[in-house]
Symmetry: C2
Subunit: 307 residues, 2 copies
């Protein structure tokens, strides 16, 4: 079975870094990821460059993306203005984020939960009319840093709302890395039977080390798409305690080992982790990276930057 | 549901350390683990102190163990002489290790697979006669560093052999951390229906970051006992590439989060990881440790070594 690995490092990863990369460097990272076999990638966001300087120039970046017929590049947008900028820059896939608690929306973007849902629904509806895929993130779907545990029924309600508005995909996001496999099953058992596993994706953070356990539970429920960030790059700057996107190399190694097909060789990600480290000047690498790097050096004759 | 966490740090963890701890230090670590709620613990091994100096004085250690009516202390033995030494020192639970590939046994203990199985079976039979529980580890049950992937049928064959000999428990061990959830399900689907999940335990290493995913798969198949090592202490000195027992704090946090009952508060393990670090002079801590330590410091007022 083919499982899609959606790389979010160039957006979710880079946006929280202290160092702001040039568009050149971002384009280099994206191209290297695509060369390693990544076919689903969140390339950047169309947000205020005052608020998120790390994402300035995403319009220029979209103009430089290669293999646009073989790679599904997505752009995150916060509102209709972002949608317009993204589509004007050539984005055919647009991501919106609907945190499913009121406090998270107010703290994050100064809108109520209902107001955010309206914004996201309007973008999904417009996307459907204009032939643009709109993917809806359901953020803090398991636990909110302000309101605590989230009722799975709430997640299901907003999944249906975004589905009805025309969202092409619903991404259940554990924004603060607090989910566990039991919760994952509970949420998916509510949503999968009605909307279908093929419409879903999951986004896990590895803050408490449980991301791969959660992915295992989601695979068991039929989910076949997962977000991941090269080397574990990033986190969410707006969520207290939210560090650690699950690392792409960990997700690929897990899925491949399980006999699923990601189309990616995890060893090919070793130089990618090192490239991301060089570009961002932070130490990266998922749980499997030490082992993968040993394997890489063994099979590539110790040529640290080869391959 | 109660799930047993069997702490193996004082044996499996310490035996591979460069620094050999005094019996005093080992007894201090064991007592601190018991004080934190650990009720199942592999305290040491009765092996040649020439071959494994880290385990010298395990007889003395067994004489000092506290709460022996409430804590299930086990001793690893390599042969009948070890069994006799262990039981003479008061051990009521004895562990034997049967690697399920021929090469692993020859490289590890210079016996063939059949010879090792005979030794383990004889110990299990004697234990049954003498009222001593003998637990049989089925090592390299998923992958052997010398022979590669292991056929689940082979694991099942030796599980039955040890069961027939009188072993009280069968511990499926991923000695080199190469297992994945699909394999775990395959092996358990062969063994659980015939021997019962309550007779099984699993021992995972986190070398490739998949231990918690594997535990999730095993819980799903009814397994309710898992080995773990405080802070991830240890590995297997005889297995190339075998680093990283899964950390006790990671296992406890996962299981508790899933709504299972381990009887242990993961925050109580934070000072234990620090104690193990001080005693062994190595940096320890599982995947969740950074988060747990933050939580610990937040809830314990930053008193680094407090209760």
């Amino acid at each position: 079975m083919y499982v899609r690995v959606n790389e979010v490092g160039p957006r979710d990863g880079l946006q929280s870094q202290g160092k702001t990369l040039t568009v050149d460097a971002r384009a280099q990272l994206v191209k290297a990821l695509v060369d390693a076999g990544i076919r689903y990638l969140e390339a950047g966001s169309f947000v205020s460059s005052k608020a998120v300087p790390q994402m300035a120039g995403t319009d220029e970046l979209f103009g430089r993306l290669s293999d646009i017929n073989h790679v599904r590049y997505a752009a995150l947008v916060p509102n209709m203005r972002g949608y317009e900028l993204a589509t004007a820059s050539g984005a055919r896939v647009v991501n919106v984020v609907l945190s499913v608690t009121d406090t998270m929306n107010r703290k994050n973007i100064r809108l109520s939960l209902d107001e955010t849902a309206d914004v996201c629904a309007a973008i999904a509806e417009r996307g459907r009319r204009e032939g643009i895929e709109v993917q809806a993130y359901l953020a803090v779907a398991f636990e909110c840093p302000f309101e605590g545990r989230v009722d799975p029924e709430v997640v299901a309600t907003f999944a249906h709302r975004m589905n009805d508005a025309g969202a092409s995909k619903l991404i259940i996001a554990d924004t603060i890395g607090a989910a566990n496999p039991t919760q994952v099953r509970q949420v998916l058992d509510l949503i999968v039977p009605e909307l279908g596993a093929e419409r879903l994706s999951c986004h896990f953070h590895d803050t408490r080390g449980m991301a791969l356990a959660n992915i295992t539970a989601a695979v068991d429920r039929g989910v076949a798409e997962f977000d991941a960030s090269i080397g574990g790059l990033g986190g969410c700057p707006f969520s207290p305690g939210a560090t650690g996107n699950v690392a792409t190399e960990d997700v690929v190694l897990l899925l491949n080992s399980m006999g699923l097909d990601t189309g990616i060789d995890p060893l090919d990600l070793v130089p990618l982790v090192r490239l991301a480290e060089e570009l961002t000047c932070v130490t990266l690498g998922g749980k499997s990276f030490r082992w993968l790097a040993q394997e890489y050096n063994r099979t590539h004759g110790g040529d640290r930057h080869g391959g």
